[in-house]
Each structure stands twice: as structure tokens, then as C-alpha cells.
Amino acid sequence: MKLASSNKVGLDAWVVGLILLGALLAVGVLDVYQLKLLGKVLIFWLIALGLQLLVAQAGVISLGHAAFMATGAYIAGLFSLQGQHDLILMLACVAVACAAFGSLMGALILRTQGLYQLMATLAIAQMAYYGFQSLRSLGGDDGFAVSNRPSVLGLITLNTDVKLLLAIIVILVLGLYVAHRIRRSEMGALMLAVRDDGRRVASLGISPYGVKVWAFLISAVFTGIGGALFAQLTRFTSPQLGSWYMSGELIILVLLGGGKTRSGLFLAAVAVVGIQEGVARYTDHWPLVLGALVLARVLWPENLGALKKAATPGEQGKAS
């Protein structure tokens, strides 16, 4: 177990600051389509920040996080159906719901080990997926439009994409700060310790199970808020957000981004969204490129690690 040395963390923080500044400036000049892309990248970044805590820090793999994304998206959609609604209230509801769902799911699945744990996350997420699919009054399999945008404290209505993007950036900054504080906290250190040797943690009188449930809960809240913002950005939600392909994509973000830096996760989000949207301009077959990239990353981790070392400051990422 090693914590990143402070100057590298400092460098990572500088890069994160530059990215955020760049995003702020970009909001002013981008057109509607490009704003959507930027929004997707930032939302995936936010989700990856939470998942990094669970997967890289606490060492728990989940193939079920799409369930939280869909939960967040559906709650955002329900608020939107009411007409005028408040962003903060909506996100608070998402956070509470995903914290409850996340701690329940975590408490159940963490009683199992290894492959079985993975299957358990998948099973619960599939049940949630079929649950959303059966909501016929909410469009069933087709989902429904999220047409009303929220307002903030009754002062500003986020009726344009620019305003929504600014709100997303503010939430992202909060998310970056919270994730950073958790990593540097006692809980963050405990997560690393649990990942490396749960029995030693237990011998100190701390329950490794409890630490992992917390990690699960935190990542669920991040993913849920990301899902709510995603529904607002795309003005649409459907059960597909909860499918296991989506769960795979979310884990891929952490794998590509590495375990330690925040800027690495940003690059991963850029890569995934870039492949989905950029390659899609030339061919429909973007999953081919994504699949090849993931396979290459798994088969030759050292080469891509070196690439990333050159491309990003901070430490070489390692996901497992």
C-alpha cells in the first residue's frame, strides 16, 4: 500500500484545475451538440470518481452500478414530470434513494466473495432493470422524455444547455472535492487497507465488511447523481441506462483511467465518449473500437501504462 506522494497529487490537482477551467471556457464557445458531448464527458467523470473509490480503493468489483444510474435518471424523470422543480431537492432525493439502495445492495453482495460477488451485483442490477422495464405508466421498455429542466433555489431556471452545463460543472467540482476528502480521510485509508488485507483490518477491531459497504454506498450516490444529470442532459431516460452493458462501460472507465489520478479518469471519460460519438461519425461500429481498446488494455497493461504515464502526470494507473 502506498499513497501517492504529495507533489504528484499536487500536479494532479493542477491538471484537474486546468481541465475544469478549460471546460468553463469551452461552455462559452461550443455549439449545442458539442455541449452535449462535454456534458457526457463530465458526467462520466463524476461517476468514475465514485467508482474509483469502490473499485480501485476498496477493491470491490461491481457489474451492477448501472442500476444506480437508472435510479438517478428515473427520479430525475419523475421530478421533471411534475413540471417546475428544484435541482437541489431533486439531487438530494437521488442521493438519499441511491444511498439506501446502495447500502442494501452492498450489504447483500458483500457477504459473498470473488466471482460470486460479481454475479450478485449483476443479479440485483438485472432485477432493477426488469423492474424499470415493467413500469408501463413510465413508458416501459421505451422510457420517457425528461422535458422540464430544474431551477436552482427558485433563482435561475436551467432552461438552456449552457446553464445546465454550468450546473454540472459546479456539481462536478463538489464531487471532486468530496471524493478527494474521502480518499485522504481515515475511511479512504481503511478502504486501501481492506483491499490489501481484510484480516489485518479486522484484527484492529474494524469491520472490513462495514468499510466496503460504505464504499459501495458512496459510489452508488455518485453514480445516481451522474444518472440524474445524464437524464437532464439528454432529456430522456429508459431502462437501457440500467442494462449490464452500461455497468460494463462504467467499470471500463475505471480500468482505463487507472486507480489513482483524477485526471486519468477524465481521459478515460474522454476516450469512452470520444469513441461513442467520434467513431460513430465514421462508422456505426464503435463498440468494436471500445472492445479492442479494453482488450488491449487488459492484455498489455504495461505498454498502455507507459503511454498513460507519458500522457498524464501523476502515477502510472493500475486498476486491480
Binding site: 457477504r111 466473495q113 466471482l115 438485472q126 413500469l135 461500429h285 463498440p287 471500445l290 472492445g291
Partner: protein, 295 residues
């Protein structure tokens, strides 16, 4: 529901369970012997169906069958040699993501070669009628035929594993891999054989189920998830557990779809029948994490 209808659903459930068994055998053997989680196993199911029915449309069913099985053997050998072999030593996360990537690649390759529209899966003429099982129960010949083939394939794999030298090595490898290796067995070759056997059985299931489902890109994936459920319920690496769990899950899945109507509980009927299998798996995981049918 009449008795005949119930009987028909039971037969359908048994048959679906046996198909699941053919698909799951590969996954459970590969996990039991090589400790590898293979998400892309469903792609072999899909590829065999595509090989068979695109060749079969041109040159007839018999040749299509040969091309389908032969093609899947070649694909499996190449896949094991190029990719799977490098994944054995990796962590489960890397295995899941690597084979997830493979699955995406295969799905897209199929879409590139055959397009997104489903292709037509013909059945041979002599299997197209139905057979009268009782006074008012007619059952399609094709479904009966594939049930018989699945039972024969299951018997063959059981004989292979329990009565032959290679089967003995596979079972030994599942228990103590290092010891088998220390006894001078070429473990790489053994793994390759197990992988190809699993692929052929998955391919056989894909070919036989082709006419019953729509043959399109990604058809193997939902079944693969069910196969993973089978492995958890049956216990990894156990052939008997795999068979029992496959039939159990095939029955539950088929019967719940038939018995629980869509309007049940305010539109939640479909959800309940889709969820039932996962609910079973969750209960098994929490109460008997080692699987229902292992000692």
C-alpha cells in the same frame, strides 16, 4: 390452464434447461479448471448459429451444420491461442473486462458481416411437423429432436469426463491444478481442449436454438447471463450441479413466463417472471454461497 398445456410448458422448460446446460457446461468447466470467467462464451453460441444458417441457406442444412460446428472449432482454437491463454493469470476484474471487450468485438463483427437484421434460420423439412404425444397434445418434432440431441450431448460430455483419460485429467485439474502440472501433463494443451469442448457445446446450443429465437447480433448475451446464474446456483466446476441448476432455471424461467400473465399485479407480471431467476440466485448466494448441488 389445462393439463396438456402444462405438460407442453414442462417440456419446453426441460428443453430450455438442457440448452442452458450445453451453454453453461463450457463456462463452468473453464471456470472450474482454468479459474477463468469468460463473458464472451455467449459469442460462440451466436457465431455457430450465424455460421450454420448463413451457410445452410446456400448449401442446405446438413452442410450448414458441418460448417457451423467446424467454424466454431476453428474460432475457439484461435481465440484460446490468441487471447484466452493470456488471461488465465490475470485478476478476475481483468478477465471480466477483457472478455467483455471480446464480446463487444464479436457482436460488432457479426453486425458488420451479416448486418443488424436477423437472419432466417431454416429447419430441415423432415423435422418441421409435430408429433402427437397424447390425446390433445401435439408437440413440434423439432423441439423434441433438439431435446434428444441435447440429452445425447450431455451424456457424451459426462462419459468423456468420467470415463476417459482426458476427462480424468480435467477433473484432476479442477481440483489441484499445480499437482497435475507437476505430474508432467501439458496443462496448456489440456486447457485448450477444455475450451474447445465448451465452445462446441455452446455452438451446438446456438445452432439448435437458432430457429426458436431470432438469430441476430448479441443473441448469446442474455443466455450467457442465465448461464452465469446457473453456475452460481449449481456450484462452479460441478457437472451434476450444472445440469440440475440448468433444468431448474429453465423450468422456472419458462413456467413463470407461462403462468404469470402480463397483467398480474398491475403490469408487473413480466417483471416478476423475468426477476424470478435472479431472485433464486440471490437467495442461493446468501444462504448457500457454495451452490445448491455441491457437497
Amino acid at each position: 390452464m389445462s393439463l396438456a398445456l402444462l405438460l407442453e410448458q414442462l417440456l419446453n422448460g426441460l428443453q430450455f434447461g438442457l440448452m442452458l446446460f450445453l451453454l453453461s457446461v463450457g463456462v463452468t468447466l473453464i471456470f472450474g479448471v482454468m479459474n477463468l470467467v469468460n463473458i464472451s462464451h455467449g459469442s460462440l453460441f451466436m457465431l455457430a448459429a450465424f455460421f450454420t444458417y448463413s451457410a445452410g441457406a446456400r448449401w442446405g442444412y446438413g452442410l450448414g451444420l458441418l460448417i457451423g460446428l467446424g467454424g466454431i472449432i476453428i474460432v475457439a482454437i484461435l481465440l484460446e491461442w490468441l487471447v484466452i491463454r493470456r488471461l488465465y493469470q490475470k485478476s478476475h476484474l481483468d478477465q471480466v473486462l477483457g472478455t467483455f471487450g471480446l464480446m463487444l468485438i464479436f457482436n460488432e463483427l457479426v453486425r458488420i458481416i451479416w448486418g443488424s437484421e436477423p437472419i432466417f434460420a431454416l429447419t430441415p423439412n423432415w423435422l418441421s411437423g409435430s408429433i402427437q404425444l397424447s390425446e390433445n397434445l401435439y408437440y413440434p418434432t423439432y423441439r423434441l429432436a433438439i431435446t434428444v440431441v441435447a440429452i445425447l450431448a450431455g451424456l457424451a460430455i459426462w462419459l468423456l469426463l468420467s470415463r476417459t483419460r482426458i476427462g480424468m485429467l480435467v477433473r484432476a485439474g479442477a481440483d489441484k491444478r499445480e499437482t497435475v502440472e507437476a505430474l508432467g501433463v501439458n496443462i496448456n494443451f489440456l486447457f485448450a481442449v477444455v475450451f474447445v469442448i465448451g465452445a462446441v457445446l455452446a455452438g451446438l446450443a446456438g445452432i439448435m436454438m437458432g430457429p426458436l429465437i431470432t438469430v441476430e447480433s448479441g443473441i448469446g448475451d442474455p443466455l450467457l447471463i442465465l448461464a452465469l446464474v446457473v453456475i452460481v446456483v449449481g456450484g462452479a466446476g460441478s457437472l451434476k450441479g450444472c445440469l440440475a441448476a440448468s433444468v431448474l432455471i429453465g423450468m422456472i424461467d419458462t413456467l413463470s413466463r407461462a403462468l404469470v400473465t402480463a397483467d398480474f399485479a398491475g403490469g408487473a407480471g413480466r417483471a416478476i417472471s423475468s426477476m424470478s431467476v435472479y431472485l433464486l440466485m440471490l437467495v442461493v448466494l446468501l444462504l448457500r454461497p457454495q451452490g445448491l448441488f455441491t457437497r
